[in-house]
Symmetry: C2
Subunit: 701 residues, 2 copies
């Protein structure tokens, strides 16, 4: 487990690297499930809600749904390519487009007419067009193949499917082969690509994220977490299928759907892996992140500049902490893991009951045990020295650059097939973009983070650890951090690119103290990376695949597959819940927003909202909660009613939704959305953007 | 669970307030046990070590052992009242005695001859004199009594025992009735009181606590955690039984004993309580303390003054974190709680097998369940608003004073018997001392702590919580902390005493913002206190007593009782352990100290040590590890050999000893001590204090 190095709201897709794969849960109950469009839960919908989707409904939900490549969901909500997503999904665009001296992320943005919509740099929007089941073709292509031949045939088949699907026009179409049910099913997803995406409207951050960290993952909620973009094609607004925008929002108890791209769930993860997560990795990660949270909080108190420099990192840490704490609580409930154990026992009996099945699947749970023992043994060193995203013992942007440079030089000297995946040719352009980035570094914050993480390194591994000796020598964590940050030139993109293009020779010759530090630890970290990958990760993946295949052989697709950041529909209803005997209403209103506003961050309204109060209908519904089963990646998903109209915009889940990584609890797990009525009222009354409001209600049907 | 408000090394007695009582474990194995002098494990000693203590040995161990009232152990090591204890047990004395501009705590102290030994303010040393078993007399006094009459008879009997024991001379004798085995046995402990205790020698803090927090609870270790005091009687050095000081220290594998006052263990705590601790209270407490750790760490980086102001709190937090993390790891091992469950099942069967026993004891485990359900429900609010020592939502010395003043005014208006125990007449002088204290407050640190804790209050209880509304209103945590700290006069002892003596009327009339804050929360906090005490604490105590009595009825005293900060002997041997396949040697040497010294805190030596290096025998053993079963409160315990000579000085345990609260693991649990050879060499060569060294080896036998 590592924490996101970039601040991310939960509902962006964020794969927990600890949890790599797994196995299916028992048949879905209640409103559980993230269903693929070609396998909707028709029986459940009919039985629970008396609803049967029409072919038109299915087509519209498929084709009006979209995905932002950076990890969010979105939808088309007008005939002229208007796209609705979350404010927190457009942060980078808002920051990057802000003219000097302005801050569109903080203060909001309204384009002065369509011609004045600025293009978001490097934003790609993919609109889902078609899903094809290619399981049978894939099976045919692989028939009788083993080992390397199998792998080669698989790659060739995938390339063939994608090539045929794109039909020579990769600029306009994107096709992905998607493996579902951990290998049980293979599908081909075709997306229409939009690489010209422009900014139409964003509210101020105070409204988009009213309540800040205290309210994050909570409900009642009062957020307008909204951005409108527009997809362009050949320089003109794209004409596509879309969700008509409902001016009134949903009613309590109403059947609603979400259509989005949940990033990853771990509902099929074996019980033994969850126990290791519960007993070792979550406690360790929570303690580390909590300490870092305190460091960043106190760092930010030292001045306005420090507050600003630390805020992204601080938000990311606090967000991760809520997630991990939620997981911890879910896994501490005796029922959670016991249910997995019962499921596994049943599947094992089913395998063992037939000699052929036994020969095919064997005992994957037994095969998992040595990998978990190894994981337990390596985990602490791995987290401190290498980590899935960044090493806990070496934090900060400057060290991050040094690590990419040092490792990248060695990796690029190898043939592509022998490199770590991060350094494959396909990923080099993105790496170079990050090295060339003119985003400012914050040396004082970097020094703090490095001093902190080196202190933790010594504390966690112990002062006698050979690696600690190697890193610190006779220096203190503070002293080493200071000399490395003060002495490095890596804050300068040109210096980074010189080392990058200089390759191994430049790295070997460098006296830059941050490069020296990264170079010192690299042999140890790199060896640990391999040991972890070979002895832990790949064994877990293999055993999980075996379990999943056995599961699929027994149960087929009468349930939903674990999330894969591809389009899924969830169904549910607008509904509150019982919180320790207190009934939580499913709706909030504008009145509640004004009651809650204290005038102090993060409960502070901008003057525009204060001035608008007399002109708003305070009974207007603002945010609402639903039983839909969503997870990170669903940010920006539309909430759709039975007619296929957009009635809301998903932006978060309640605190009980966090356990949704492992299990869906219909009693308390709730998705949280902005009401379409609030969106219209805010556009008209607060932001006085009649053009967008008019476009939404124009009803191009 | 709460963290210590004053920094405490683990091995001072520190009662975990979560864990109030409990029940006996299965018969002690290996070197397990904290034995009372009148119930030494003669069979185990004979069988494992071929040793049978003589009557003289027992008398000497009893009478040369001592206890510092502030929570440490100590021993007499010369015929002239020389007392050996830890440096960290004499912190207050060293700080209080330091003349202006000097810092004896940091730089050490050597009295220039006996006549120049300064008296430690308010230090009391109690030397154990005699233990009498009064179980039978107590039973007789209580025979046939019930309810209030029982309680009254018990108090009367205790008063009678103590009065007879003191024999009219309470200045020189102290007698305590001690309840062992959670009520199975009653003993009368008589101590010789020494209220004139003087400072003889202390090393510098760099040597006493070399390695600081990174090395705390770790081994190999290189600490001279030592202070010599002297007990005086009628203005002259006390002449008492003592442990002859061995100049050579122990050998590997040698049988050694400790004699000290372990504060509290929870080896008899029911499994269900441990599960609640593991699943709720430890995760919550560790996350809170970790964040606070980060805040204090970053606070201290802002300057020398900030470092100094925060260091006590920081050390206390990091020490608590190590303890709680150790507990968490111990409780996460499947065997720990499973063993408790098995023990409880056995005891329950024994009770159920006999109708009379069933009538006497009933089913205490079932009676415990509603209290634990209540604990689970109340815990978070209780920890934030009230807490066992201080509320997590309201930190800082200034708020602490306000809370004592507000609550104290209301409590003192009641008859003594109806007050909370902290405000009983007997405790008023100590409270007044703390209010009068001229110890400086640190307003900037207080503001930081209060802002942090109010932020946590809102985060943990949620922005919609009525208590959060009551406290913050429309203010922010930062704003409220700033106005309360800037506006309060409670930093001034005179202002505090004016409010104290003014009682309820003064509190009601006060406009001091810190008093206003404490007054606002008091009705909620006080009600929660009662609910917690009545529905959780007292039920747990009653059921634990019942379980303990059943246990004692079945097994008698063939095992040792949970620790009670009274004198206990543990036996064991000088021995390393296997740490993940690495063999840890039981000894360190002076050579290792110099190897480990980096020149940077906390691995920095004073010039005196650097200069002494050529003159020291670097092969001299410095610290050592033993299998003795010790716990907080054992700090300062002598390590004694089979002859009854002092061969070392306990000052810590290794990381595996932390789980010793719940269970003793002979494979890895180790006590850590300073070698008597190192003490002599350091006195002679480094500190050039030949007088004390000569006194130690003079051998007044």
């Amino acid at each position: 487990m590592s924490h996101p190095s970039v601040a991310q709201r939960l509902l962006r897709a964020s794969v927990s690297a600890v949890l790599l794969a797994g196995l299916a849960t028992p048949a879905a109950r209640a409103d559980e499930g993230m269903w693929t469009m070609d396998n909707l839960p028709l029986a459940q919908l009919k039985q629970r809600y008396g609803f049967t989707p029409s072919a038109d409904w299915i087509t519209r939900v498929t084709q009006a749904s979209a995905r932002l490549a950076l990890g969010c969901s979105a939808s088309f909500v007008s005939a002229d390519g208007l796209v609705m997503t979350n404010h927190h999904c457009a942060n980078e665009c808002l920051a990057e487009l802000s003219p000097k001296g302005q801050n569109w992320f903080q203060n909001g943005f309204s384009a002065n007419g369509q011609s004045a919509e600025p293009q978001c740099p490097a934003m790609e929007l993919d609109r889902l067009d078609r899903i094809s089941d290619v399981t049978a073709q894939m099976a045919k292509a692989l028939d009788g193949k083993q080992g390397a031949a199998y792998s080669q045939a698989q790659k060739a088949a995938e390339a063939g499917f994608e090539k045929d699907c794109v039909a020579g026009d990769a600029t306009h179409w994107r096709c992905d082969v998607v493996t579902l049910y951990h290998g049980g099913k293979t599908a081909l997803y075709r997306y229409k690509r939009y690489q010209d995406v422009r900014l139409v409207f964003a509210p101020d951050q105070n409204a988009a994220f009213f309540g800040g960290d205290p309210d994050n993952f909570n409900f009642p909620r009062y957020d307008l977490d909204l951005t409108f973009l527009r997809a362009y094609e050949n320089g003109k607004p794209a004409k596509t299928t879309y969700f008509p925008f409902d001016p009134d929002g949903p009613k309590a108890g109403e059947l609603v759907f979400t259509s989005g791209n949940p990033g990853a769930t771990s509902r099929e993860t074996p019980a033994a892996e969850l126990e290791l997560l519960r007993d070792l990795e979550l406690p360790s990660g929570i303690a580390y992140l909590s300490t870092l949270d305190g460091v960043l909080w106190e760092y930010g108190r030292q001045g306005a500049q420090q507050t600003q420099d630390a805020q992204d990192e601080l938000f990311g840490v606090e967000n991760s902490l809520k997630v991990y704490t939620g997981w911890q609580q879910t896994l501490a409930q005796p029922g959670t893991i016991a249910a997995k154990r019962a499921f596994e026992a049943g599947l094992k009996s089913w395998i063992d009951a037939d000699p052929k099945r036994k020969a095919t699947f064997g005992d994957p749970w037994a095969r998992l045990m040595p990998a978990l023992a190894k994981e337990r043994q390596l985990y602490t060193r791995y987290a401190m020295l290498e980590g899935t995203r960044s090493p806990r013992g070496f934090m900060g942007d400057l060290y991050g650059y040094a690590k990419i440079l040092v490792r990248g030089a060695a990796e690029r000297a190898k043939p592509d097939s022998q490199r770590l995946s991060a350094f494959h040719d396909a990923n080099i352009p993105a790496l170079e973009d990050s090295l060339k980035s003119s985003a400012p570094v914050h040396p004082a914050l970097d020094e703090t983070l490095l001093a902190f993480s080196l202190t933790k390194l010594r504390q966690v591994l112990g002062a006698d650890d050979p690696t600690v000796h190697l890193v610190l020598g006779h220096d203190s964590p503070e002293g080493l951090a200071k000399s490395a940050v003060e002495g490095t030139k890596l804050g300068d993109p040109a210096a980074r690119m010189a080392l990058w293009t200089g390759g191994e020779a430049a790295i070997k010759a460098s006296t830059d103290p941050m490069i020296v530090l990264a170079r010192t630890i690299e042999p140890t970290a790199r060896a640990l990376h391999d040991e972890w990958d070979n002895d832990v990760v790949s064994v877990k993946r293999q055993t999980s695949e075996t379990i999943a295949k056995a599961r699929f052989a027994r149960d087929g697709s009468n349930t939903y597959p674990d999330a894969t950041f591809t389009q899924r529909v969830s169904f549910g209803q607008v509904k509150g819940w019982d919180e320790n005997g207190r009934q939580i209403s499913p709706f909030t209103t504008f009145a509640g927003l004004y009651d809650r506003a204290t005038g102090s961050d993060p409960f502070k309204l901008t003057q525009g909202w204060i001035d608008a109060k007399p002109h708003l209908d305070l009974a207007t519904k603002f945010d609402f909660a639903t039983t839909n089963d969503i997870i990170g990646g669903n940010s920006g998903s539309p909430v759709i009613d039975a007619r296929g109209h957009a009635v809301g915009l998903i932006f978060d889940g309640n605190i009980h939704s966090i356990g949704g990584d492992f299990t869906y609890d219909g009693a308390q797990n709730r998705a949280v959305a902005v009401d379409s009525a609030a969106i219209l009222a805010a556009l008209r009354v607060v932001y006085k953007n009649q053009a967008v409001a008019d476009e939404l209600v124009k009803g191009h049907l």
